[in-house]
């Protein structure tokens, strides 16, 4: 009976690792990845539909210069630099339509650079 302790521990560790790996795989599979390009003075797409309680990755690229991305109602903010991919991860926790806008001044028309995140069931 002296050897049963370590064997139980190993079994528990294996079970835990399997559960962890399964969860990771399931999260990755369920993650919504949305590519968005930014250029003066628009985002494309400008309306982004995501599912409630499902992890989201927004992948931004800028086609010209540095832009901003701010969703005050969801407390999300990012700087989108030209030549880089900027990722914003979040889990939508409430239904609704949330406005986003460029919060880094980018020229005449900056005030019109905006879009919406729509969270649905």
């Amino acid at each position: 009976m002296a050897a049963s302790g370590p064997r139980c521990l190993i079994a528990l560790l294996l079970i835990s690792f399997s559960a962890f790996a399964a969860n990771e795989a399931s999260s990755a599979a369920a993650e919504q990845v949305i590519k968005i390009s930014a250029k003066r003075f628009e985002y494309s797409p400008s309306v982004i539909t995501v599912k409630l309680n499902t992890p989201v990755v927004l992948e931004f690229t800028s086609l010209d210069r540095t832009h901003g991305f701010a969703v005050p109602d969801l407390k999300l903010e990012a700087e989108i630099k030209a030549g880089e991919t900027t990722r914003v991860r979040f889990v939508p926790g409430k239904l609704g339509t949330f406005e986003f806008h460029c919060n880094i001044f980018c020229g005449s028309g900056h005030e019109e650079m905006s879009g919406q995140i729509v969270v649905t069931n």
Binding site: P72, D73, N103, F105, C106, G107, E111
Partner: protein, 303 residues
Amino acid sequence: MDFNSHNRREFLQLLGTGVGGVVFASGLGQLSGCATPRSKSQAADDFYFVQLSDTHWGFKGPPNPEADVTLKNTVERVNGLERQPDFIVFTGDLTHTTDDADLRRKRMAEFKQIVDGLKVKPVHFMAGEHDASLDAGKAYQEFFGELHYSFDHKGVHFVVIDNVSDPSASIGEAQLGWLRSDLSKLDTQQPIVVLTHRPLFGLYPQWDWTTKDGDAAIAVLQNYQNVTVFYGHIHQEHHFKTGQIEHHSAKSLIFPLPAPGSQPKRAPVPWDPANPNKGLGFRGIDAQAGRGYQLAEFSIGKV
């Protein structure tokens, strides 16, 4: 929160109509730090100044088909005021932005030439994002000087805060350090007027009507009992209070913008051919020792 109704209910008292404008009393900003009757020496310290904002010289478009004359007419209007101010301030967006650095300088030179026609001197300028965000204020400084500075007038300390030359609308730690240092020599009862372009508080972040680190500036200012902020950017009159600090935005001199959150987009209010210049205007500020500030809103439309 409904900022507009909150403002009007709590901070303004309608006193009556002025000549071509409406006069309001500001509840705070006691110039002597108390509400005692004015003595002769205090009355001698009374003064009057004018705030002009968001002239956007160089703008062309349907929201103001008369943009090439609005500023010139305003200069004449200010020159014709029955009570001439001690000085004039411009709270940013003197020019409309452009990617062309030469055109930016041309607009600044034209603006400067037009406002040189103001009879009253001095004129204190500050930048808006349209003037300074695309080149970190380089051209602006060539024409108008420092982006942040302070000056004193008849017992009031004026501080100009730059929240636009960083395109992300940050004041930045260096300038915040300067602000702390500039104010450190003052008594906590010292009357202070802050002039800036964007709202220092989160008026409506959904339309970017905020300053990223404005809370840090407000935290510094909260150490003083008589602080009033005059700003522009939102192209409309607005009044709000954070702690004991009052914040008053001015109308623009190019086109009005809608009330915060009143419509999906912050698009300009359309030009009304039947009522040209509707929603445009400037402000006279009567600083009265011991009695705070009276704000007179002047329209430039037909009255």
